[in-house]
Symmetry: C2
Subunit: 189 residues, 2 copies
């Protein structure tokens, strides 16, 4: 389980917040590679051992912060039709995730994640967004594929290329994936 929910209202929460803030500020100031636990602790007004005890190590702390930053901040825009909605969403997803910053967050999220829960969270974010789009389409009466199908045929290929083949990845490919999905089998699962 992520270390997010720890006595939501007390000192722990304050510490957690100040540590997360310190990470974000320092990342901007000294860069991703300049981050160290003692440095973060100092900025957060906390002792290093607090961080070590709560997060284990820098990797897990960064993983937590990365997941936060990967949380979508808006609901997918409604363009009036499934294909346009999905295409626009996929393009934006790719844009955000394939950027150097996005890649770094994904890596951090995966890296400090012994049990896979943070990675699962990221995947859930994407699945939720897709679900919103599909539900909307279904309400319009459109014939929609299942969330799993979209994840397999759109989200996964994009993420795979982001992680394993940094080159040759553009929004045209995102559009093709969506198009291929909808023409082939609009009624998957």
């Amino acid at each position: 389980m992520s270390r997010q929910m720890v006595r939501p209202g007390g000192r722990s929460a304050r510490v957690q917040a100040s540590v997360h803030t310190a990470v974000r500020e320092l990342e901007a100031e000294v860069g991703r590679d300049g981050l160290t636990v003692p440095l973060i602790a100092q900025r957060a007004g906390v002792t290093p051992s607090t961080i070590y005890r709560r997060w284990g190590d820098l990797a897990q702390l960064l993983s937590d912060v990365a997941v936060e930053r990967l949380r979508p901040d808006t609901t997918p825009r409604d363009h009036g039709g499934l294909e346009t909605d999905l295409t626009a969403w996929a393009e934006q997803f790719l844009d955000e995730m394939a950027s150097p910053a996005g890649r770094a967050y994904i890596r951090d999220a995966l890296l400090g994640d012994p049990d896979g829960s943070n990675a699962g969270q990221c995947s859930a974010y994407a699945a939720d967004q897709v679900d919103v789009i599909l539900t909307r389409a279904a309400e319009r009466g459109e014939d929609t594929p299942g969330v799993e199908t979209v994840v397999d045929h759109v989200v996964a290929p994009l993420m795979y290329r982001i992680l394993f083949r940094p080159a040759g990845l553009d929004s045209a490919h995102a559009r093709e994936l969506v198009a291929g999905l909808l023409e082939g089998n609009a009624a998957g699962k």
Copy 2:
């Protein structure tokens, strides 16, 4: 570039070999999390600074070792038909990659890989295997999709789930992906 090819015949090569061996042995003895650079150095009969200078840090060393272990050791078996070949390959791929050990190697390969070359190598291994299968099918006169299509619709979904959604992943899903690919559009790209 991977740190593999360094003066293939001299002392460097011996050091590299003994370090890699030490990593594999120790991983078996103390477990993935018990590994440290000094420990590996001692076992390899080398000073820690040698490792730090050549590999930078533990993550990058592990990444190198992981890529080695992810290299397929056999050519995909020939079952006489595209669908059977692909299905069998996908099931085996999933088996190997989704195991705890496989997941750990993939993570290691991805994480200690600043420039993405090790990840690219892993992806290339899979693509090569798929290519062998497709080429064989084409020679039989079968109608085959392109390698990219197979990577997008079979390899990527499997890898995505392995990394982001450890649960609910079985060979049935691998079979479905292959079936979906071949029924939908046998002549992709």
